[in-house]
């Protein structure tokens, strides 16, 4: 238990942050209240910076986890992308009320301020993602996944004082509750199939089932599929993606960006852990090294349908937020290919892609968050027309992030797609990669629009009235994101190596299992892609 606590130190730091921020948010002094986002960022950075020191090789060696090293990568990446997201949230909450207080029109009333609470929820949600890294049983996994989601329901409702946001929150909450029910049911079936809730034990039980019966039993397969479908809500994949457009549109842009990254990262990590119990190592039957066929088929369909619905949905939108919402669905579809491809390029590719997607999507939303018209966020594509003339930096940020989302070669998004697609081809899922390629082509239809409109068009009459938001921090987040999109590809190999190192233990277990269950081919390396990399 004490080893587990050791790995939880980043979460503990975040929790201290929660306490500090909640007190600061209620302070009578305006300076203290306005320091809330800064404090949030400080704690996020502290947690992220502490991580590499905590995940020492010996500790990771000793940890009884399915993926002992993943937190080493994940907590750092999620921490730093969350810093960008927190920058975007500055000046979002309580703006009107604080202005009144400042002007002396209203007196300070602790019951009316929300800023502290908003950032508490922010930190709690990030903390949930970090907790998943240490999950080794279904209960922990369930609680951590819920800790990610529950705060986001409130964040959506708080994010702006409009009925749209509240409607979005209600939808998000009810549908989320339903999805939670689904994966909880799946967890129950998994328990029924294996008689354990501990993931590492579950893996051994499945391996034993394969050895004795020639395959995982039906209850286990159905349990896994139901769990995956439930978690698909978090990553916004079909058939659980219906909420996305409405919720992202209703929430403030900063919160939409948060929804597109934090729950998605949590969901993918959860899926990787769940799939890891069945492994890619010999559970599909004689001689195969993949997942059981029904699960591959399900994921295959989810990937194909998700990316197609996402991209064709985005084509029809006139609201940039809805467009980016559908694009978020489509990107989940691409990432599911990585799940199918399995350890090596696939899983590492997903971890890499999450980082890339987090950065480029945040940059795109930051443009929307950083500009406003008549005190309201800009939303429609017409607002973006000819942005170059009045707000050149934001126009460039938009163009760069859209180009990266599209996957234009030297940029970050291209690198992400490269790993995942190569992983897919490598494992023989060529038709799926072709579908993904076609989808990328379709997505050019709207991404090129987002690139061209701000740079090439003449401003529309309504675009003339666009001003920059009061806080410059959201724009700063956009600029940082755009710079990262251009600079990180140069260091892509280091980032990829990091993802590779973070999945090391996971892979070793697969190799051990092959040795145990597949005596015919003991020398076959578990994944050729990694075997050749020294």
């Amino acid at each position: 238990m004490i080893e587990k606590l050791w790995f939880l130190i980043p979460e503990i730091i975040l929790f201290i942050g929660v306490c500090v921020v909640s007190i600061m948010g209620l302070s009578h002094h305006r300076t203290w209240r306005s320091a809330v986002p800064g404090a949030t960022i400080v704690f996020l950075i502290a947690a992220a910076l502490a991580t590499p020191f905590l995940y020492t090789p010996e500790k990771m060696e000793a940890a009884e986890l399915l993926m002992p090293r993943v937190g080493w990568y994940f907590k750092v990446i999620v921490g730093f992308v969350s810093v960008l997201l927190a920058l975007m949230c500055i000046g979002l909450i309580d703006r009107r009320y604080e202005a009144e207080v400042k002007a002396g029109r209203a007196s300070f009333d602790p019951m009316r301020v929300n800023r502290g609470e908003f950032f508490i929820f922010f930190l709690l949600s990030v903390m949930g993602v970090n907790l998943i890294c240490s999950a080794n049983d279904l209960i922990w996994l369930f609680l951590a996944l819920e800790l990610v989601s529950l705060p986001t329901y409130v964040m959506v409702a708080m994010s702006r004082p409009s009925r749209k946001a509240q409607e979005a929150a209600v939808k998000y909450f009810f549908l989320g509750a339903m999805a939670t029910g689904v994966f909880l049911y799946g967890f129950a079936l998994l328990y029924g199939s294996t008689g354990t809730i501990v993931l590492t034990e579950m893996r051994d039980v499945f391996a034993a089932q394969v050895a004795e019966e020639g395959g995982v039993n039906l209850l286990g397969i159905v349990g896994m599929i139901v769990s995956l479908l439930g978690v698909a809500y978090k990553i916004a994949a079909a058939p659980m993606h219906f909420y996305v457009a409405d919720v992202y549109e209703g929430a403030a842009s900063a919160v939409s960006a948060f929804l597109a990254f934090v729950p998605k990262a949590a969901g993918f990590l959860g899926m990787i852990l769940l799939l890891g119990t069945m492994g890619w190592a010999g559970h599909a039957g004689e001689g195969s090294t993949g997942l059981p066929m029904p699960i591959v088929t399900t994921l295959w369909m989810i990937a194909a349908i998700t990316m197609t619905l996402g991209n064709v949905g985005a084509l029809l939108q006139t609201s940039v937020k809805r467009m980016l919402a559908y694009s978020s669905v489509a990107h989940s579809g691409y990432m599911v290919i990585g799940l199918i491809a399995g350890p090596g390029l696939g899983i590492n590719g997903v971890l890499f892609y999450l980082t890339a997607y987090g950065i480029m999507n945040t940059a795109a939303f930051a443009v929307l968050a950083g500009l406003e018209r008549k005190k309201a966020e800009i939303e429609t594509v017409d607002d973006l027309a000819g942005l170059r003339f009045k707000h050149p930096s934001m126009a460039i940020v938009m163009a760069i992030s859209a180009a990266s989302l599209l996957g234009v070669p030297p940029l970050l998004g291209f690198m992400g797609k490269l790993y995942i697609f190569v992983g897919g081809v490598e494992t023989g899922h060529i038709p799926l990669v072709i579908i993904a390629g076609l989808n990328s082509a379709i997505s050019a239809g709207y991404y090129l629009y987002l690139i061209g409109l701000p740079i090439l068009s003449q401003p529309s009459p309504q675009a003339e009235t666009i001003t920059t938001g009061e806080a410059r921090w959201p724009r700063l987040a956009g600029v940082i994101g755009a710079v990262l999109i251009i600079v990180l590809p140069v260091f892509t190999n280091y980032l990829y190596d990091a993802t590779e190192r973070s999945t090391e233990g996971y892979l070793d277990e697969q190799a051990r299992q092959i040795g145990a269950t597949d005596a015919d081919e003991p020398d076959e390396p578990p994944d050729p892609a990694l075997a050749t990399r020294e």
Binding site: L175, P239, F242, L315, G428, I430
Partner: protein
């Protein structure tokens, strides 16, 4: 196969080099970052110039240090970039392109003059761009920094991907700087033209890299040369895609180095500020094509027709642009055409297998052409944008113009190939090798071109620098709206006789003298020992010998016996033959443009009067109508096709297919749109329905489907 093969194996077995060499790349990058910072801080002083000059000087010193410590080809690994491996056994593949530097003597030769001239020209620009301080000054120096960084990547990269990055980078920097006066339509048009012409070439280079990777499995120079030296690739089929590689590389080189058919952008690129013309469009960037061919010399020999093609394209370009230069009046434009022509010489040199000669000519040309451009710039600067050689005369006698005139004279002597100047030796190597390797037609044409070169070069100098004093200020001037290199001479009236030319100040004079000294001294390497018996070209040849361009010293094509010129070794005979051609050209120029200036006009009038010869001066003055031909045969058809497509688009796609982004995706989207009705309950039903569907599918349908799917997936390579 012996000496070449062992040599290439030696190139392949490269040791690790010193990491500090990376600073040659980082210094320009630091300079760029600082320029960005100055622009954010709104610095309104000459600070950006001093930053850039300082950083470039440091880069130059680093290069010198690298040269001093150099002993054998090294790969300097800076950091990992692309490092993909997949498959195992026979199916194993990889794509490795790290951020590494490949340093051999060819790299060093190029980097020495790139960073050295870059520093000096940035210093010149610090004064030249003075009137823009606080306006475009920072933007200009940021562009120069980008250029130097990209050029260093291009020359020093250890793989074709990094080279391509640099290749695109210098193209971008060139676009940036040609379009520096972006309020001026002609500058914008020129920038666009350069960009598009270069894209065509870049397509060739990109395809070549792709084919190289397909056929040889690597894009790293060291590995690539090893594979080619081993000859192992012949077994792996390839056929046409291997043969295509040298021609595609050539296309890339022609685009960047302004050769037929892609040369038309370079003369127009003179719309940029003069230091840019000198640095990018005369001395460094345009030689990237020659560098590419030298670096990839083993690859260029994959098809026996590749090098002769290069030789003939180079020769044609040389002679065509020399004839255009004969009839131009704008001195900067004459220099531009002369650059195209000299680049033609270099390509011809590569084509006739003297990479040493080509590299030496690049080296000397970089100096003397920089001098010529910078003197043109000084004249333009001083005479309010005047560049017409008919309106300038005898400026040597004006106070403060001695340095400009004398340095220009030395530049002209080098360009004309006057005996014992640097240009004379480097040009002779190319000419002599043409005869030696049996391309005597190329040799004679180039000799004739050398005569033309001497004539048009001295036409400029005799007209502008000596003779009776007479000048008119430039007509395109004053204010930013016109922009063209004129710098606030608002106090000078037009033609009122009170115009006072600005003589250049210390920075310009210092740089002119420094580069001129360089141009004179560039003859010395010819006499330095080349370290090998019977190899002409001295130090430069030894620098080229030590690299992948080596084969050119001997030639892979069997040359039974060395060609002769007038019964002698061409290398010895050429000293006299080319000198004679050059002197004749200078004498004609002296007669027509100094001793008897009326005669030139009379000759032109005579030619125009005779209907049989009228076409000659007209065509030459109009640049052989190449732009117009391109307009008719390339632009117009494209325009027609473009509009036809637009019409089809509007009639069919917009009319029938809604907005042209493709009907099907949108239709599918519309099909699903009713589902997205915003009602919570229906979303819940859909989610539950989807969920139920999947479960039913798995539990009831999967048992039947599984064997079929298993077969199908096995057919496509297994399920993961």
């Amino acid at each position: 196969m012996t000496i070449e093969t062992t040599h290439m194996m030696m190139l392949a077995n490269t040791a690790a080099g010193p990491g500090w060499a990376g600073f040659i790349l980082w210094f320009p990058l630091i300079s760029l970052a600082l320029c960005g910072l100055w622009s954010i801080l709104r610095i309104k002083s000459k600070l950006p110039a001093w930053t850039t000059v300082g950083c470039l000087a440091l880069a130059f010193l680093t290069t010198v240090a690298l040269y001093v410590s150099y002993s054998e080809p090294v790969v300097i690994h800076l950091f990992d970039w692309f490092n993909l491996h997949w498959g195992s056994g026979a199916k194993a593949g990889s794509f490795v392109a790290n951020f590494s530097l490949y340093v051999d003597s060819l790299t060093l030769l190029w980097m020495l003059f790139v960073t050295g001239l870059g520093t000096l020209i940035a210093l010149y620009a610090s004064e030249y761009m003075e009137p823009d301080v606080g306006k475009g000054y920072t933007r200009f120096f940021a562009g120069v920094s980008v250029f130097l960084f990209a050029m260093s990547c291009l020359v020093m990269g250890d793989n074709l991907v990094l080279l391509y990055l640099g290749w695109e980078g210098v193209g971008f920097a060139s676009y940036w700087l040609i379009g520096y006066y972006y309020t001026k339509p002609s500058a914008v048009a020129a920038a666009k033209k350069a960009f598009i012409m270069n894209r065509i070439g870049d397509l060739g280079l990109a395809l070549a890299i792709w084919f190289i990777w397909l056929n040889f499995g690597t894009v790293e120079f060291a590995d690539l040369f090893a594979v080619i030296a081993s000859g192992a690739y012949h077994t792996e089929a390839g056929g046409w895609s291997i043969s295509a590689i040298p021609f595609l590389l050539m296309l890339g080189a022609f685009g960047k180095s302004a050769q037929i058919p892609l040369y038309v952008w370079l003369p127009d690129a003179m719309e940029g500020p003069t230091p840019v013309s000198a640095l990018i469009h005369a001395a460094t960037m345009v030689t990237a094509g020659v560098y590419l061919l030298c670096r990839m010399f083993p690859v260029m020999q994959l098809h026996e027709l590749a090098l002769p093609t290069v030789a003939w394209i180079g020769t044609s370009t040389a002679i065509l642009s020399a004839t255009i230069a004969l009839a131009q009046y704008d001195i900067k434009r004459i220099m531009a055409y002369s650059t195209v022509s000299q680049l033609g010489f270099m390509f011809a040199g590569v084509g006739v297998m003297t990479t040493a000669g080509a590299a030496y000519h690049v080296f000397t040309h970089a100096f003397f052409k920089a001098v010529l451009f910078l003197t043109c710039g000084a004249i333009m600067h001083g005479f309010a944008g005047q560049l017409d050689l008919r309106k300038l005369s005898g400026i040597m006698r004006l106070r403060g113009w001695k340095v400009v005139s004398v340095t220009m004279l030395i530049g002209c002597l080098c360009l004309a190939g006057f005996p014992l100047t640097s240009g004379y030796f480097s040009k002779d190597m190319i000419l002599a090798q043409a005869f030696t390797s049996g391309h005597s037609a190329v040799g004679w044409l180039l000799l004739f071109t050398a005569g033309l070169t001497a004539y048009y070069t001295f036409r400029v100098w005799f007209r502008v620098c000596i003779g009776p004093v007479h000048f008119e200020p430039g007509d395109e001037d004053h204010g930013d709206d016109h922009g063209h290199d004129d710098h606030g001479h608002g106090d000078h009236g037009h033609g009122d006789g009170k115009f006072h030319p600005h003589a250049p100040k210390w920075a310009v004079n210092f740089v002119l003298i420094a580069i001129t000294v360089g141009a004179i001294l560039a003859a010395i390497p010819y006499f330095m020992p080349s370290g090998e018996e019977g190899v002409k070209g001295g130090w430069v040849a030894s620098m080229t010998l030590d690299s992948s361009a080596r084969d050119g010293m001997y030639g892979v094509y069997a040359i039974e016996e060395k060609g002769k010129l007038f019964g002698a070794d061409p290398y010895n005979a050429m000293y006299f033959v080319s000198a004679a051609f050059g002197l004749v050209g200078i004498l004609i120029a002296w007669w027509l443009h100094l001793a008897n200036r009326k005669a030139a006009d009379a000759l032109r009038a005579k030619l125009l009067a005779n209907p049989l010869t009228r076409w000659l001066p007209t065509a030459m003055e109009n640049k052989w109508y190449v732009d117009e031909i391109y307009h008719v045969f390339v632009r117009a058809p494209l325009w027609v096709i473009g509009h036809a497509f637009a019409l089809i688009d509007r009639l069919f796609v917009d009319g029938l297919l809604v907005n042209g982004t493709g009907y099907l995706p949108r239709a599918v989207g519309r099909m699903f749109q009713p589902l997205q009705n915003g009602v919570l309950q229906s979303y819940a039903v859909l989610m539950a329905g989807g969920f139920a569907l999947v479960v039913v599918l798995i539990v009831l349908v999967m048992p039947w489907l599984q064997p079929i799917l298993a077969d199908w997936m096995a057919g496509t390579g297994g399920a993961g």
